[in-house]
Symmetry: C2
C-alpha cells in the first residue's frame, strides 16, 4: 500500500468583492485566525482595479474638493497583499458551487477561467447603480454624457466629463441634469454647481424624499436658493441624442418640459448585486438583497455583508435596504470574526443618514434617523410629531445657524421613533444623539430630560433637539 | 353678627432670584396655573438690575465676539412683567421665615424693608464666585484690576478693564493673569488673548482638571500653542499692589515666579448661595448646596433650583455640584410645575460639559460626560479606558480635524462610564451621543455597534467615538 497521504489543505476563506465589506471581512478573518493560532488563507476576488475606496467621496472628487481618485482609496491592493490577503484583481466571479465548495472566476483580460476551493465564503458583491431604460442605447451602452455615480471608474468618467470644454469643436455650455433627489443626487448637484454647471435636478417625488414632506420641502427651498433648478414630481420621459456623436442633447420631463443639457447624472440609487448567489440557489428578499441571519450567514459556511444584503430595521424588526459604508464595514468585520469560529452578531440599523448641500452663500445640512411619519404609521404606531426651529449656538454668537428638528414619537408608549434635521452649519451631526436614544429604545421624555452639552458656541441652553423633544413631550 | 368675611387671598408664589432657574420657575408656574384654571400671583425678587442673562456668554462679551451686554439678556425685566411676573428688581431678600411663610427683603437703594407672604417659595439664589483672600484688600474690597466673571456687573467691569489704554498717565502693557484652569479660566484666557493681552494662566493642578490627566495635557498643549503661557500646579502665593492707586502690579506664584500684570481674572469656580436658607434652618450638603429631592423640594412648600443646589449624579447616585444653565433651566421648570400641584421630577445629571479655545491658528474643543477614571475607580468600578485619535471627517476632506476620544468603561459589566473628547473644529459636540448612551445605561459595545451617521464632510466611516469604543470593546 502506498504510504502517500494527501497533504493537509490549509483552511481557505474566499471573499468575493474587495471593497469595504469584503476587505473588512478579509482582514478580520486574518486577525482572528492569528489570535486563535489558526492557519487560514484568505483569497479575495475583485472585479475592478480598485479596492476599499470611498464611494461616498465621489461627489467631492467630482466637485474638485478632493484632488485625486487615489485620495478616495483607503488601502491599495499592494497594501492589502502586504497584510496577507491573496488579492486577485480584475477578475469576475462567474459561478459559485455550494456543493463542490468552489468559486469559478474569469480574468477580465481574457484567458482560461479559474476555480478556487473555499471552506468559508464571504459574499461582498455590493450593488449595481440603477440604470433606467432611456439612459441606454439600442446597443446596450450608456448614452454619451449620461452616467451613474457608484464606483471609481464612474468617478474617473465624471472627472473627464466636467473637465471637457468642447465637444465636436463646439464649446460646451456646461449644463447638467441630475436625475434623482436622494443623497447622491443632491451631492452631485452640489458638485455640478461648484464646477460651474447650470444644474437642474429632476426628482420623481421630492428632494430627500426619505424625509417627511415638510422637512423635505425645507431642503428643496435651500437647494433651489443655492442655484439648482429643482423640479419635483417629475421623471424623465424621453432623451434626445445627438445623431452624430451619440451624446445627450436634452431630456424631456414627464411634465412635458425639455431640459437641454451636456451631461446627465444618474442618481437613482442602487440594487443589490446578488446574481451569483441567486444562481447558486441562495434566497433573496423582496428588495433583492441576501437575507443574512444575525451572524450575517446566508447558508452553511457562507456569509454576506454590505450593499448586497438586506438589513434588519431595529425598530420595525423587518428587512430593509440600507446600502451604506458604515453597515458594510461593521458587517464585514462580523463576517471576518465568524468565518474563523466567532459568533458575532449585527444588531440591525436605524436608518441613520446625513448629507449637506453647499454652494456660494448656501449651506444646508440634512439628517434623519429612525422612522418617518409614514413608515411609523404603517408600522402601527400612534404617531405624534412636531417641527421646532431652534439654533445651533446661542443667539448672540456669530456661528449660530438655524436648525429645524422634527421629532416623531408614539403617543401610547411615548417612545421616540424618529428624528429629522434640516439646518445650517453644525446642525446635522446632532442626529447621532437621537440615534443613540433610538438605540436604547428611550422615550421622547428621556431625550428632553437628558444631560446634553451646552456652551454658547455649541448650543442653546435648551439644546435644539432637546427643545424639540420637550415641546412634543408637553403636547403628548 | 357681622357678615364681613376676610377677602380670600390669592395664592402667592415667591421666587428669590430672577435668572435662569428662577424665571423658568416663575413662567412655568404661571403657565401651569393658567392651564389648570388656578389664580396665582408670582412675585420674583432680584438682587441685581439684570434678569435672565447668559453667564456663559460673558467671556464672549469680554473677547469682543458679542457686542453688548444687552445681547446676553434672554428677557428684560419689562418682558417678564408683561408676561405676568410681579418682578421686583434691585431688592435683596434678607430673611425667610418658614413658620410665618414670609420673605423679608430690602431695597438696595435703601429705605424700609418689606415683607411678602408666600404660599409656595422657590429658592433660585444661584452661586457666589470664589474670591481668594489675596484678591481682597484689608478694607474688604477687591484689589484693583482683579475681578471674577459671574454676573453682568462683572461683565461690565471687564469690558471697562479691557478697554483701558492707560492708568495714571502710563500706558497699560496689556498683560493678564488668569487664575483657574477650568471652563471659565480657559474661556477668559481666550478672551484676553483676543483682546491682545499677553496672557498667563495659572492653575492649581491642570488645565481642565475635570478631564483625565492625559486628556487635560492635550488641552494644555493647544492652549499653550494658542499663545497662553500655561503654568500648572501653581497657586497664587502673593499679590503686589500699587501703593498709589491700589491696582494690581503682579502676582507671585507658589512656584516662586513673579508675573507682572495689569489685570487678574478670578476663574476659581463658584459656591452655592445658600445663606438665606441656612439661616431659615434648611439643610445643606457637604458641597454647600441645598439638597432637593427628585421634585426639587427642600421643605414643605419650598423648592430650590439652579446653582444653589447640589444635584444627583445619575451614575454614582450621589449629590454633586454642577452649576450649569442647562440644569438651572430644567430644574426651574420642574419647580414651576410643582408649585401649582405638579409632580415633575429632575432625573439627575451626567456631568456633561463642553468648551473650546480659539485664537489665531488654534482651535481646540473640549468635552466630557460621565465619570473620569479617578471618579469611576473611587466609585468601585473596575475601570478600563483607552484614548483613540481619529478624525472629524473623511481623510480626504478639507474640514477634517483630529479628535482624541477617551472611553471609560466597567470591565465587569461592560457598561460605558464616561467619555472625554479633545479635538479640533466640529469634534466636541459628539459628546452628546455619549451622554445619550450613558443616560440609557448602555454598554461600550452598544456605542461601538449603533447606527451613527456617516458622510465624508461629517465623519469617518467608523465614526470617531465609535472607533474608540470599538477598540476598547475589543480589548476588554
Amino acid at each position: 500500500m502506498s504510504r502517500a497521504v494527501p497533504p493537509k489543505q490549509r483552511e481557505q476563506i474566499v471573499v468575493i468583492g474587495a471593497d469595504a465589506a469584503g476587505m473588512s471581512a478579509a482582514h478580520q478573518a486574518l486577525r482572528s485566525a492569528k489570535a486563535a493560532g489558526r492557519d487560514v488563507d484568505v483569497i479575495a476576488l475583485e472585479k475592478t482595479s480598485d479596492t476599499s475606496y470611498s464611494a461616498c467621496g465621489i461627489p467631492y472628487l467630482v466637485s474638485g474638493t478632493v484632488g485625486t481618485t487615489d485620495e478616495l482609496s483607503a488601502r491599495t491592493p499592494e497594501k492589502h497583499r502586504a497584510m496577507g490577503v491573496d488579492l486577485r484583481m480584475n477578475v469576475t466571479a462567474t459561478q459559485i458551487d455550494l456543493d463542490t465548495r468552489t468559486v469559478t472566476y474569469a480574468h477580465n483580460a481574457g484567458g482560461e477561467e479559474e476555480v478556487v476551493r473555499f471552506d468559508k465564503l464571504v459574499l461582498a458583491t455590493g450593488a449595481h447603480p440603477i440604470i433606467p431604460e432611456w439612459a441606454v442605447t439600442d446597443g446596450g451602452e450608456l448614452v454619451g454624457g449620461v452616467h451613474p455615480v457608484k464606483d471609481l471608474d464612474h468617478a474617473r468618467h465624471w472627472l473627464d466629463l466636467v473637465s471637457r470644454r468642447a465637444r465636436g469643436g463646439i464649446a460646451i455650455r456646461r449644463r447638467a441634469v441630475v436625475v434623482g433627489g436622494g443623497y447622491i443626487g443632491v451631492e452631485m448637484a452640489e458638485a455640478m454647481v461648484q464646477r460651474g454647471f447650470s444644474t437642474t435636478l429632476l426628482t420623481r417625488s421630492a428632494v430627500m424624499s426619505s424625509l417627511d414632506s415638510d422637512m423635505s420641502e425645507r431642503v428643496r427651498e435651500t437647494v433651489q436658493a443655492g442655484g439648482v433648478d429643482v423640479v419635483t414630481n417629475t421623471t424623465v420621459a424621453d432623451i434626445d441624442i445627438d445623431s452624430v456623436d451619440g451624446h445627450v442633447r436634452s431630456v424631456t420631463g414627464s411634465n412635458g418640459q425639455v431640459y437641454p443639457t451636456d451631461v446627465v447624472v444618474l442618481g437613482l440609487g442602487v440594487h443589490p448585486a446578488t446574481e451569483l448567489g441567486v444562481a447558486a440557489g441562495l434566497p433573496i428578499g423582496e428588495r433583492g438583497g441576501y437575507l443574512p441571519n444575525e451572524r450575517q450567514e446566508v447558508a452553511e459556511g457562507v456569509w454576506a455583508a454590505g450593499d448586497c444584503c438586506e438589513v434588519i430595521d431595529r425598530i420595525r424588526g423587518k428587512y430593509v435596504l440600507a446600502p451604506l459604508g458604515t453597515h458594510a464595514n461593521k458587517q464585514g468585520r462580523i463576517c471576518g470574526y465568524n468565518t474563523v469560529g466567532g459568533s458575532h452578531e449585527f444588531p440591525g440599523v436605524l436608518g441613520t443618514a446625513i448629507t449637506r448641500f453647499v454652494s456660494a452663500g448656501t449651506h444646508v445640512e440634512v439628517a434623519r434617523t429612525g422612522l418617518g411619519t409614514r413608515e411609523a404609521t404603517e408600522a402601527g404606531y400612534d404617531v405624534e410629531s412636531l417641527v421646532t426651529v431652534g439654533g445651533t449656538a446661542s443667539g448672540y454668537m456669530p456661528e449660530r445657524s438655524p436648525i429645524a428638528t422634527k421629532i416623531i414619537a408614539d403617543r401610547r408608549t411615548r417612545r421616540l421613533l424618529g428624528v429629522q434635521i434640516v439646518g445650517g452649519a453644525q446642525s446635522a451631526k446632532r442626529i447621532d444623539t437621537a440615534a443613540a436614544v433610538l438605540w436604547g429604545e428611550m422615550s421622547v421624555d428621556d431625550l428632553a430630560a437628558m444631560d446634553l452639552s451646552y456652551a454658547p458656541p455649541f448650543a442653546t441652553v435648551w439644546e435644539a433637539i432637546q427643545l424639540a423633544a420637550r415641546r412634543l413631550s408637553d403636547r403628548m
